[in-house]
Symmetry: C2
Subunit: 221 residues, 2 copies
DNA sequence: CATAGAAATATTGGATCCAATATACAATCC
DNA sequence: GGATTGTATATTGGATCCAATATTTCTATG
């Protein structure tokens, strides 16, 4: 187990730090699906007692990232193909709507920020950074929707499937294809065409979902 | 503070029991918006230590039902009018989709169960039971969508605004209107018209949202 | 040697105690 | 009398200890 550095600026408590570190480790795939998470082990890694660890695990369970069983411990949750398909459908629905709501509020600075992320995504060669940059690209546009509750749900649903997306991006032509789709979405945004940007976002997500599912079917047999 | 009995069948731990009891108290409005929740006080009510209470509060915070501040404690979260509007929009979006996905799977037994809930809703005079029965009516149809992730999100978003809906149902013509709309939704379901059922569900939720917002504007000034 | 039962170990959930700090209130000074 | 400072209290977050039980290991027996 390895953990990334955590942004402690708004992590008031030890439980927050542990939660955020575990969350990142799970969504980035550093903790394998089905891997056992023992409270004592994690506590020693972070130099804290088991109390804040338990709080962090409890939160992760609420978000569906792990499952726990008394006396047996927690394991990183895996998703069935059906669950993955459902989450992609869900994302397509709400992110298309968020995009539609965002377009009228997009200003020059936001578009330029999104362009920068798109370029960074195309240039990036490290698979471990694709997910993060992809998120930043989409979030930078989504934020203009001024819909915090939607965005919270976008984040939660993305958290659940990010690990799988990463695998798919690494092993298929997902990156160049996503790059082209980002390009088209951004063009629609620049034209101020909310309906088109929304539709392209929906297709972008459904495409990635289909590609991932066929990839996983091959992998899982 | 009063708490309803908790279904302990799947509440393995004390933390689960406290969580479920507090959740219900909040969504049913028994705990007033802004009310202070002190760990020690809750612990004594449930005859447990503060540890499981803290875990329960942590989960509630993750779901947005309370907010906590170190050394100051937790308070029941209130929603601004804007936040309420956003959650209704969100519900309209996803519940309309769930309804659309459910209609092809509706069988006779399910429709009869939904009819029973619709009738019970119309007959019910206790405002405290409207919310629960309304939920049962909608859930009984939604479940046919076989989309657990969607349903989880339906539940989470409904949890956030149920307390306000309750007030609106009590003080406006919300109940008879909702009754008529339930009737129409059910008719569309019986005809197997997914598009119509979806549209009516969307309008049903947006109507309730608009009605609630005007009610709250009058109340809050 | 394989298997069944018993003891040892591992692991979680909860209780009690300690540390840190925000708030309330009283004492003091102008 | 009002403002300011200091202390006492309230309250949370975390550490340590205890209880309960699942898992593993060891031993005895056929």
């Amino acid at each position: 187990m390895k953990f990334a550095a955590v942004d402690v600026r708004q992590a008031a408590s030890a439980a927050d730090i542990v939660y955020e570190a575990l969350r990142r480790a799970i969504i980035e795939g550093d903790l394998a699906e089905g891997e056992n998470l023992r409270q004592e082990e994690i506590a020693q890694m972070f130099n804290v007692s088991r109390i804040p660890v338990r709080e962090a695990l409890s939160r992760l369970e609420q978000h569906g990232l792990i499952t726990t069983q008394r006396y047996k411990g927690a394991v990183v949750a895996g998703l069935s193909i059906e669950e993955i398909e459902e989450i992609f459908q869900f994302r397509a629905l709400i992110e298309a709507e968020v995009m539609r709501l965002a377009v009228p509020n997009l200003d020059r600075a936001t578009l330029e920020r999104a362009q920068a992320y798109r370029d960074a995504f195309d240039r990036e060669t490290d698979p471990h950074r694709w997910g993060e940059i992809n998120r930043m690209f989409h979030y930078s546009l989504y934020e203009a929707s001024h819909r915090p509750y939607y965005l919270q749900n976008v984040r939660a649903s993305l958290d659940r499937i990010d690990r799988y997306l990463r695998a798919q991006l690494s092993f298929t032509d997902g990156v160049p294809r996503a790059g082209r789709e980002h390009e088209a979405i951004l063009a629609a945004c620049e034209k101020g065409d909310a309906a088109l940007a929304s539709l392209l976002t929906r297709d972008h997500i459904l495409d990635a979902g289909r590609s991932l599912v066929t990839f996983l079917r091959g992998q899982r047999g």
